[in-house]
Amino acid sequence: MAEHNPYVDDLSRGIIRENPVFRLLLGMCPVLGVTAYFINGLGMGLATTAVVIASNVVIASLKNYIPAQVRIPCFIVVIATFVTIVEMVLQAFQPALYEALGVFVPLIVVNCVILGRAEAFASKKPVLRSLVDGVGVGIGFTLALGILALVREIAGQGTIMGPDPESAILLFGEGFEPMGLFGQPPGAFIALGLLLGFANMLFKKLNI
């Protein structure tokens, strides 16, 4: 790997070494809340990615004009603006997904991952690197949501690509009785806990 290229480093950091979910345990509410179905988890991941990239870029380009004392409120407004835009776009063009994600869409605004990147990275680094950083963090977050949602949907519903019956693929045939628990709150906690343990084990083996 090209260790000296800062862009590669910026991109991979968010995905592996500082994965927001598996390593930093940030933004856990949507991770647990919308992962009953893979589509919802993926949609939430992409929505968050869009916000983190946009806010990173805008904040990095505005950083010289914003006085340090009011930087947090300004960051919050920028993030909230993009969250609202994402909400409007989802409502207009992906109403089923918007309905399924519910209140977790506006709650992207309080996802600590986004404010964390703004404060720790975008407010100090150049625009392009902030963009790459946003992409990396977004992919890392989406990856975690996607994996958890996949596990939960397969165990809890026995399908992938649900809940829409038209796209849902039954994995185990009619006789399979899914573990409904995984579709519900307790299953979310347990699945994420086990997945974290698994990730810890993997990271340890690979020495990351």
Binding site: A36, Y37, Y65, I66, P67, Q69, V70, P73, C74, V77, V78, A80, T81, T84, I85, M88, V89, Q91, A92, F93, P95, E99, G102, G156, Q157, G162, P163, P165, P178, G180, G183, Q184
Partner: protein
């Protein structure tokens, strides 16, 4: 001083830019959202009422009722948009009925029932059992339609909401009257009727003489005691007092009260006409 000014100006500027941006976005997406909702509703209308030409909206107790007419101004039926409380949150659905209140179709618009459990309310299997049912049927759980085991709260609440909606349409829009129970014609005697409750059957014993309710007793039930005490013996007492099944139902015990009433109706159906010599039933 200069510093504070600069801080405020920055904050205000950021806020104004944000508000302006959002207003712009809002103006773009808002019509798309409206149009989409409208189009889906129109598609549903056309599916349930193929001959639709125009419709007229009426609002009753917060729910929307659209009276559908064809090209000749002939009434085709009614499409209701109803909200009801499910197991986890509000369920919004469309109910289409013809001019005899016979159910043509159901479309769940939004719900937040448990995935894989309560969301059976969106399936054809659940919805199709309502088709053809009407004002004349009582649309009772376990009688005309079945709740789904494991999801009794979600399905039960849909069933009672659909029943209420059909009754509202029948009484308030189509001015229909429910089949009156001609008590006078029924033979004296003691009759039993049952209805399936959430946790098991509820059975009543109805004593009739001279075409009047003399006594109504619940001899078996599996209702939640805390709610049941609000319905019994109050509901039977009211029925006897008013000699009518159209009694006011306490809100805290709606389910139990409605079950008692249905059980009484079922008991009356057992009663033979007084002239018929009372053969076995």
């Amino acid at each position: 001083m200069h510093n504070i000014l600069r801080l405020s100006v920055t904050l205000v500027a950021v806020a104004i830019i944000s508000a302006a941006l959002l207003t712009g976005m809002h103006n773009i997406t808002e019509p798309v959202i409206r149009e989409k909702e409208q189009r889906e509703y129109l598609e549903a209308l056309e599916k349930f009422f193929p001959g639709i030409n125009e419709y007229e909206t009426r609002e009753i107790e917060g729910d929307q009722f659209d009276l559908v007419y064809d090209q000749d101004g002939e009434k085709l039926g009614i499409m209701a948009t109803v909200k009801t409380q499910g197991y986890e949150g509000t369920i919004t659905y469309n109910l289409a009925v013809d001019t005899d209140t016979e159910i043509i179709g159901i479309r769940v618009i939004s719900h937040s029932e448990t995935p894989g459990i309560g969301d059976v309310i969106t399936t054809d299997d659940f919805q199709e059992q309502f088709i053809g049912k009407s004002f004349e049927d009582t649309i009772q759980e376990g009688e005309d339609v079945d709740a789904v085991s494991g999801a009794t709260m979600s399905t039960g609440s849909m069933i009672s909401s659909i029943r209420r909606t059909v009754i509202t349409i029948g009484e308030n829009i189509l001015d229909m009257e429910r089949k009156a129970f001609a008590l006078e014609g029924l033979a004296d005697g003691v009759y039993r009727g049952s209805v399936e409750g959430t946790y098991g059957p509820l059975t009543v014993e109805v004593e009739l003489s001279d075409g009047r309710f003399q006594n109504i007793e619940v001899i078996e039930h599996n209702e939640t005691e805390a709610y049941f005490v609000d319905a019994y013996p109050e509901i039977p007492e009211k029925i006897i007092e008013e000699q009518s099944l159209e009694v006011d139902v306490q809100t805290s015990a709606t389910l139990s009260a409605e079950r008692i009433i249905t059980a009484v109706i079922n008991a009356l159906e057992e009663a033979p006409e007084s002239g018929s010599g009372g053969g076995d039933n």
